[in-house]
Every structure is written in structure tokens, then in C-alpha cells.
Symmetry: D2
Subunit: 257 residues, 4 copies
Amino acid sequence: MSEDKKTGRGRAEEWWQTSIIEMRPGVIRLRGYEIQDLIGRVSFPAMIWLMLRGELPSEEQAALLGIALGAAVDHGPQAPSIAIARMAATCGVGINNAMASAINVLGDVHGGAGEQALSFYGDIAAAMDGGTPLAQAVKTRLDRFFAEEKGYVPGLGHRFHPVDPRAPRLIELTREFAARKGKTIPLNIDGTTAVIYGELGFPPALTRGLFVLSRSVGILAHAWEQSQQGDRNKGPLPREWLWAYTGLPVRPFPDTE
Amino acid sequence: MSEDKKTGRGRAEEWWQTSIIEMRPGVIRLRGYEIQDLIGRVSFPAMIWLMLRGELPSEEQAALLGIALGAAVDHGPQAPSIAIARMAATCGVGINNAMASAINVLGDVHGGAGEQALSFYGDIAAAMDGGTPLAQAVKTRLDRFFAEEKGYVPGLGHRFHPVDPRAPRLIELTREFAARKGKTIPLNIDGTTAVIYGELGFPPALTRGLFVLSRSVGILAHAWEQSQQGDRNKGPLPREWLWAYTGLPVRPFPDTE
Amino acid sequence: MSEDKKTGRGRAEEWWQTSIIEMRPGVIRLRGYEIQDLIGRVSFPAMIWLMLRGELPSEEQAALLGIALGAAVDHGPQAPSIAIARMAATCGVGINNAMASAINVLGDVHGGAGEQALSFYGDIAAAMDGGTPLAQAVKTRLDRFFAEEKGYVPGLGHRFHPVDPRAPRLIELTREFAARKGKTIPLNIDGTTAVIYGELGFPPALTRGLFVLSRSVGILAHAWEQSQQGDRNKGPLPREWLWAYTGLPVRPFPDTE
Amino acid sequence: MSEDKKTGRGRAEEWWQTSIIEMRPGVIRLRGYEIQDLIGRVSFPAMIWLMLRGELPSEEQAALLGIALGAAVDHGPQAPSIAIARMAATCGVGINNAMASAINVLGDVHGGAGEQALSFYGDIAAAMDGGTPLAQAVKTRLDRFFAEEKGYVPGLGHRFHPVDPRAPRLIELTREFAARKGKTIPLNIDGTTAVIYGELGFPPALTRGLFVLSRSVGILAHAWEQSQQGDRNKGPLPREWLWAYTGLPVRPFPDTE
């Protein structure tokens, strides 16, 4: 590119460069494929894969991705994200705004368990690649966890479910998939989704994004259901209830400030 | 429910009632189905349908929904939503936050064309149901549009593409689907997705939510690509450029305010 | 500007033109004033005024703006915005993200009453300017409201307070201000803030923005207080409570989909 | 509280407890003060202080807080937050939504410099409290920074301004304030605001919230200015420009997936 172009339009177009999408009037290409070649030929999970990874998945890979995405769509209105979507839907904003306020809270604590679990498994896998036996690799990583970190071991246990009903079914399906690839996958509970995403080759930081795509479905369903009920300014508690005030008792405004 | 319960926990649980998800320790049911029965048996688009509509779709319906969702995943970084996702990804926030800031702008102008198109078609269909011929129904609605509204007829034309490359392919697939249902579907251009969603029975206001699910894929892909490039505080223009100032020339601060 | 420049950097800089801020290395000017001339000389409300209106306010104007901004900072955690801020603060996102999710719901229903009230008053004022007596102008506008619109007359009454404790004090102060300008201001209750903003010359659509600036203070205070309590994933109800499920009873997955 | 109450409404009201605001019909108290006692008596910065800190500030403290808040209101549309606010304002969403998308990106990189600077200064101050001379404390902390962290020393230098025009004026005012308190404040450049917030006793993590309150003013001003210009779907570059595509060249869809 000429230096002249660098200071003009070319420099600006370079500033927004991407390898995801190519467009000209009448042309849209995603990752090198004409969009009209993709429409009707690839499933929605395959399209997600293509957009995020750059290549089309195998049918098996797309199917497993779809399964993992479907497994995490909702966990009910006690989850802050779902409650936020429902409250937002009563405040006179668009359904996309209600979804945004909700997705926005899928942070390290609410949406990051899969990402953390996958990193955790990655550390164990790396130790095993270096010759450490599985049991030792797990023990070492857990020891480090309890020494350094607080909170919950990601992917293990669940604050609400004694056994998470989603995990065994996911593990079963993952095993079928893994068997074909000649691997065994370590057991786990809540982080099974993380195992699937890891098996499929997604980097940990991207799996939070996959969780957002998945949970967005429940967020939309709840925002929509709420919006059909006609409430205005839905608060967290029944309208006739308040909150407990725990601060200073009433006091006079000081004479001189 | 007893009055006593109404003033206690029961009243609060009633406040958050939903018909989407039932949960007890060890149990998650979506729309009456055990989640372990759904995992691995329904595609991701079928799960989306179930969550939003309450019943499982036919395979054809799920396939067409998946096609429509896949067709709108991205339109490049000149779209405000994609640009926002990329800029946000350089500001030190989580990938869910970057997605939220982007999804948040899929409002009436940026994300509402499908919803508006579907309402538009609905008006025409209602007139036809009342006996008005198609040509007259379209003319009447268009006359009303040009008399009352400003901007662009939703679903017709595109500011960038002379012919939108996505539309003919979608129309072709829709016709195959519609043929099986013994209906003809009126031609259109950009709003073909709206036709599909309408054919599938989604109310207009919910189609904006479907567009959010679809475009979220592109938003995530771009946020992720950008986050891998290591920029900090990416602005809209190359760093060495500024903006044109069009306001008052410099002036002294007034002596007495 | 030369055509050549139009196709290069100049065109891009023109795309982002603004009359609010002028910047060069070592220079920041807001509305024509050097920032170092403003710092320490204008109050925070005066800075808000300058940014939004382009000129410095009088001391009286700045004081009244500050009073109105201070009056609406909080209405407790039963307000969806405050509840959202507190829940978000427990999800592992930044304090700015918690604030954004909350501010995002200050829409037509939750944050728009002032804007609507000011439009309402504007219609009445316009009728009075056209010669209609006050009582008739109010009656006509109210008649139109009850014929066309649903919900609540903006600025009148309050779902929680029989008499809003903020209104009388604001009205008193507004009268003092108005008296100096030789005007009388019509009485009202919840929309007193709207009266102040209107008296000060803010267009209705901008007053929603002023409400956001004001309520942001409460949103931040609550997000901060919550973040100091160490909860994780705070839901809307006590952790051991659920929600009422009102949907279909459990059913088997259909044999053939 | 009785156990009975714990399982009923009292438990729910306890769940949302706060020491910020007390409310009953006809009563609003902030931090123990009747709101009608506050309105008209405290400046907007003093109200911010009261809400965040629990006590009224002195006039000097409120004035200095107002100065710091006023100094950071805007840095122009090359800042991602301002660009996002302007683009959002053209997408058919409310002004509060435009503000939320923008505020949402004031994360560690875009909005966290002050917070980081204050932590940095806190480490130095702690070392000095332990007897280390200033020069040594600074050197030790800087050595640790260059060994451990990447990026920029917070509060020092500016990517755009050789000398930030805001800093000297802020330092001057801070010194006046500090002189009255019998302290000297170490010089700095961009982090002067952090010094002020630190001097005033705000914890580092809360100063990001103060920055949000401040920058919200510029975000609102730009969103408003943009909304008056009537653009639709404003992208980051002039409409007739695109972006550079750097991905794979066009390729045929594979025969068998």
C-alpha cells in the first residue's frame, strides 16, 4: 500500500481490518465462502463455528457444539441475568436492551465457571502431556487451587443441585464423541460443557462467549414472557414489600455545613 | 394459595413466576420436558424454538429457523454494533460486556427492520384476509407509509447492496418450505428473514430478539478477533487522526460568571 | 475543503465532527473555553450545563440544576435500576458494567416520566401562548391524554408516596427562582423536576439524560455497597427460595420429533 | 427477628437491606437525613459524597470533589466511549441506552487508570508510612511495575498530550487544599484526579465509579449532539468507505461437509 494511501481512506479501512467478513456491493463472504453458498447448507451451530474458528466443522463437531449450546440456555429467574432481563422488560426499553443488561452480568462469577474450568483442565492436560499421571496432575492442580484461590473449584459441584441433571447426559454424549477420536475424557460435573468446548478446541476465553450465546436464549425467552404480562417497573420483591434499612437513624441536617 | 402464604415466601415466589422453567434440586425442566431428555435430541434451533414458543418444532420448522438465524450473523465492522463490539474489546472489559454494549444498539433503526417488515406484511395479510387483492393491499399500505412515516420501507432495498445476496437464496428456501404448506409467499428483498419468521408464526416484536441471537454470533466473532490483536482503547479512526471541531473558536473565561 | 481531502483523512475527521470539544496535543477546549480556565472556576453542575447547552449558566441556573440533579439520586432497591446494579455487582463484572446494566433500564417507563411531563407541560404552555386560558389548556390536554394514551399522567401522583416528599421542597425553591424571573409556575407533584428542567430551557428529550446523571449517583452507591458485602450471584429472592412454576406439567419427550 | 419472620416477608426485605436509603410512604431519607432537608442545602457533589460515604462533606471537600468530577467530563470522539455513545444514538435506542453502551466500556483499560494510579500511590504511601523515603518508595514500586506488569505506569504520561493541560491546574488547586491540611502531595500528571480522590479518602475501586459519573457528562453531551443530526446507523468510517479484508480468498463450498 502506498504511503499516500496510508494517510487517506486506505489507512482508515486498514484500521478496521478483519479476516471474518468480506463485502462489496452485492457480495457478502464469510471466512471466504459466499453467503449464498452457506445459507441452507450449514446448520446454525456450524455457522457459529465457522464465524469463530474460520473453518467449517465436521457434522459431528457441529452437532456436539449444538448440544453444548442447548444445554445451558436457562437456569431460571433466581439467576441474576434472568431476573435482570425480566425487570428490564418492564421498564420501557427494547427487547435488545433487556437482553444487553442481562448478558452484561455474565461475568467472571456468573458466566465464567466454564472458562475457568477449561483453564483448570488445560493445566491438568499440560501436566499429563509432560508425563505426570492423571491422579497426580489433578492433585497438584487442586493443591495449588486451595493454596492460591478462593471460592469454588470450577466445574465441580453446584450450589443448588446435589447432582446437576445436565452433566451425566452431556458426559454420555461426549464419551460417544470422544470414543470415535480414541481419547478418554476425565469425568466432571458442572464443567462438562467446558470439557466439550475444550475437546472441540475452543480456547477458554472464547467459551464465555459461547455461554453468552447459549444463555441469551433463556434471557430472550424470559424477557419476552415478562413483556407479555404488562407489568411496569417490576422490582425484585412484591410491590407492597420494601427492604430493610440498616443505616443510621433519622438525624437533623447540621446547622452549619 | 392461602392468604398467609401470600404474605410470605409464597407471595415472593409467585412474584417471579414463569411457565418456562421448573427447577428443584436435581431437576431442571424446560416447558415440561426433563432437560436430560432434551440434551442430544433437539438441535440448537429447536431448543430456541421450544424456549420461545413452548412446544417443540417440526424438523422442517427447526431447520428453517436455523437457516434464518444463520443468514444474519454478520454485516461487517461498518455496522455500529460490530464496531462497538470491537472497540469495547480493547477497553479492558469482559467479552460478555463487549457483546452487551453491541447488542444494546440493535434498536429500532439498527435491528428493527425485520420486526417492522413483519408488521408491514401482517397489515397486508390482514387486508387480504378481508378480501382485498394483493396488489391493492400492498398499494394501500405503501400509500399509508409514505403519508405517515419517514425513512425506508422496511424489508425493501438496501443502502449498500443493489441486490442483497442473502435474499434470493432465502426466498428460494422459503418457497420450498412454503410449497409443502400449500402457500405462496410474496416476494421481497431484505425482509426475507421477516417472511420466514412470520411464516413460522413468530410475532413481530419477538423477531427483534431472534435477530439479536443471530447477530450475536458476528458480534462475538469480531469481539474475539479484536481481543486477539492486543490493541488498547481502539477509537473509530486511526490513532493519529482526530475529528473536525465545528464549534465556537477559543474564547476567554468571562470575568464574572 | 478540497475534494482530495474529502476522500482522505479530512473526510474521516469530518465524519466525527463535533462542536463540543476541540483537542490538539497539549490543548483541550470545551465549547471554546480552555479546560484549565474552567477547572476550579465552574461548579460540576455548571460544567454539565456548559457541555449540554454550549454556554456557561448563571450562578442561579447552575444552582437550580444542581438541586434538581440532587433530588433524584435514589429511590431504593425496589426500583429495577437499583436492584439491577446490586445484582450485577455480585456477578464478577466491573463497577462501570454494573452501572451500565442499571442505567440501561431507565427507559420510557422507568426513567421517562420527567421527559413525558415536560412534553405535557410544553403542550399546555403552547396552548396558553395561543391565547387559551390555563384551566382550559390543562383540561384539553388531559382530555386528549385519557382519549389516546394509557398509563399514568406524567408528573402527577406516585404509586408509592401519597405525597412525594421531594416535590413540595422543589416547588418552593423553584418559586423563588421563578419569582426572580417574573413568572408563575404551575403546581405539580412528581414532575417538579421536569418543571425545573423546562424552566431552565432543557428540551424534553434531554431531561432523560439529566435523570440518568442524577440516578447514576444512587446506582453507584448501591453497586458499591453491595460489592463490599461479598455475595456471589445475588438473585432477586433469598437464596433458599425459588419461583412459582406455572407452565405445563412434566411430559415425556415425544417418540418421533 | 423471629424465625417466623425470617421465612416470610421479613426474610425477603432483609435480602435487599441497605444502609443508604430509608423509605416509607411519604418519607425518603438518605443516610439518615430527610430528603427535604437536603434539597436546596447541599450541592450536587455534596450529595454524591453523602451517598457514597455516608456523611456530609465539608464545603472544601465537596468543592474539590466537584472540581475533579468536572475535569474529566470529555476527551473527544476518538475515545471509544464517546464514539460508542454517538453511534448508539443513531441506532434507534433511548438516550439512556446510548449512555449505557458507552459507560459499559469504561473498563480497566479505558476507565481504570485513575483506580490503578491510586492503588499505585497507596503502595508508595504505605512504604513511606513504614519509614521508606519517598524516592526509594517510588523506585521500588516502579521496579516492581516493570518486572511484573505490562502497559503504562498509571497516572504518568499521556499517549496524546505531551503535557496534559488538565494536570497542572488540578495540581495547583490540590496544593491549595493540601496546604490547608498541612501535607505535601507528590507531583504527577494524568493521575492528578487520582491524587485528589485519594486525598479525599475514596478507596481506589470506587474512583472508577467517580470517573463514570464524570465522563457520563461528556457521553450524554455527545449522544445528544449526535441525536440532533438525524443520522441513521452511524458507522465508524464515512459511509462510502469499507474495511480491509485480510482473510482467506473466496473459496467454493466443499462438496461434502
